[in-house]
């Protein structure tokens, strides 16, 4: 007898599938093999049936597997989170601390940038590059340093950075950077801005919390607000915030002793 698949291979296989799946019973015109297939399908169908004890065991195994799956997924999630430790730390920094505060000392800050404050014909100096500020860990942050900080931050929601280099000066001259989400705040202990500075028509003068500040643009096109408060010469620089938002941010800062 011929044991090769007939030329009408596809239709024969389709009939076979229909019989195996129980969609159709073998018809009289089907060949003997399809009838045999029907017999085999009927013979083995009861193997797929579960009696009561088998159903109980199935249920028990299902419960065990669900627990295993949950543990496996939790473990996979943990691995995904912790394996790339450095990346995770960076993400965490961005998500939780990025918009917070980063402080640093710039020994050149005050002397370089605001040395001519008392000169009539006031001119705002360029701010130092943020590259000159280096981050350091909280334990080395200067104690009792008053800074103007955004209010309402969580107790650990900032990073302190410190540069102890005096750059040849007998005493380090400190200046700080406060990074917020949309702006950078420069803060340097300084003498007050002389009153005559506000007579300079080159800058737009704004008033908030009974104090005055200047609005100008930086060399790279960012908006800059400078003012003096609580012994600190402060600058907010941003390319995102509007002038009103910058003024609002400046007005909301609170003097905090770290």
């Amino acid at each position: 007898m011929n044991d090769e698949l007939p030329e009408s291979e596809h239709s024969w296989l389709d009939r076979l599938d229909a019989i195996v799946e129980g969609q159709q019973a073998p018809a009289p015109e089907d060949d003997e093999l399809l009838h045999l297939a029907g017999k085999l399908a009927a013979t083995f169908a009861p193997l797929r049936e579960l009696d009561a004890p088998a159903r109980t065991r199935k249920q028990r195994l299902g419960t065990k597997l669900r627990a295993q799956l949950a543990a496996s997924q939790a473990s996979r999630a943990r691995r995904w989170l912790f394996r790339p430790l450095m990346v995770a730390a960076a993400i965490l920094l961005f998500l939780l601390l990025g918009p917070g505060l980063i402080f640093e000392i710039s020994p050149l800050g005050q002397s370089l940038n605001h040395s001519n404050r008392t000169v009539v014909g006031w001119q705002m100096n360029d701010l130092p590059s943020v590259d000159q500020y280096n981050m350091v860990s909280p334990p080395t942050f200067p104690k009792n340093q008053p800074l103007l900080l955004p209010t309402g931050l969580g107790p650990n929601a900032y990073i302190v950075a410190l540069n102890g280099n005096s750059y040849g000066s007998s005493t380090p001259i400190l200046s700080y950077l406060v990074y917020t989400q949309h702006a950078i705040i420069y803060e340097s202990p300084s003498n007050p801005i002389p009153p005559q500075a506000f007579q300079d028509s080159s800058y737009q003068v704004v008033t908030f919390n009974d104090q005055q500040g200047f609005i100008s643009s930086t060399g790279d096109g960012q908006t800059r607000l400078e003012w003096y408060q609580d012994g600190l010469l402060c600058d907010i620089v941003s390319n995102i915030l509007t002038v009103n938002q910058m003024v609002e941010l400046a007005g909301s800062l609170k003097l905090t002793n770290l």
């Binding site: 044991d3 698949l5 007939p6 093999l33 193997l47 799956l69 949950a70």
Partner: protein, 215 residues
């Protein structure tokens, strides 16, 4: 929806500036804990499958296939646990949900092979004769059908290992030919030819024994 269990870390760190829309601190999206009532799901490629659905769909078929392979209900139940435990452990490696059935039966096949390596049992398909009767069959029907099954299973035993394998995957596990091809790592056309040849040999053996196939 924000239930009592929902995590709100935004209130600890969020600092919206009073009187403006500006927030200088990112407010993390609220996360909600999954309730226990939520179904456990498994993600395979881009498809998410409910575990219960997968389990219900394949448990009985995998168990039946293992019963066919090892000829023992007890061993088959032991192996079916291993199959699903292995599947849960490695399901993250599966790339396509379309391959799930074939993948599961390949695990089942491997478990059965491992069992044979360990035990080297002299299994015979005739041992299934008592298992292969419908639950609702009458005692008389069971006796008559048993004789027929014994004959059929005895002849199945004489097929080659590969032919028996393909018969098991087709008639017991009810897999499509393309799934069988994946399990056995062979072209789909070969599966069709193997099935045809196995049925033809079975028919010939029945004829040689004087048996007949009712048409």
């Amino acid at each position: 929806m924000q239930g009592e269990d929902s995590m709100d870390i935004g209130s600890d760190v969020g600092v919206p500036i009073a009187g403006s829309q500006l927030s200088i601190w990112p407010l993390p999206a609220r996360q909600e804990k999954k309730t226990k009532a939520q179904a456990q799901t498994i993600k395979i490629g881009n498809v998410t499958i409910a575990f219960d659905e997968l389990y219900s769909q394949y448990y009985a078929r995998v168990l039946a296939y293992l019963r066919f392979r090892v000829g023992s209900n007890e061993v088959a139940e032991e192996l079916v646990s291993q199959v699903f435990e292995r599947a849960i452990t490695h399901i993250g490696d599966l790339q396509s949900a379309a391959a799930l059935g074939a993948w599961l039966f390949r695990i089942a096949r491997n478990c059965a092979t491992d069992y044979f390596r360990r035990q080297r049992p002299a299994t015979s398909l005739e041992t299934l004769a008592d298992s292969c009767h419908p639950c609702d069959a009458s005692p008389e029907e069971v006796v008559v059908a048993r004789e027929e099954r014994m004959t059929l299973l005895a002849h199945l035993n004489r097929l080659s290992e590969r032919e028996r394998e393909v018969i098991g995957l087709k008639f017991v596990a009810c897999l499509q030919n393309r799934e069988i091809a994946r399990v056995l790592n062979m072209p789909e056309g070969t599966v069709g030819s193997l099935l045809y040849r196995a049925l033809a040999r079975l028919r010939n053996a029945l004829h040689d024994e004087g048996g007949r196939i009712d048409t």
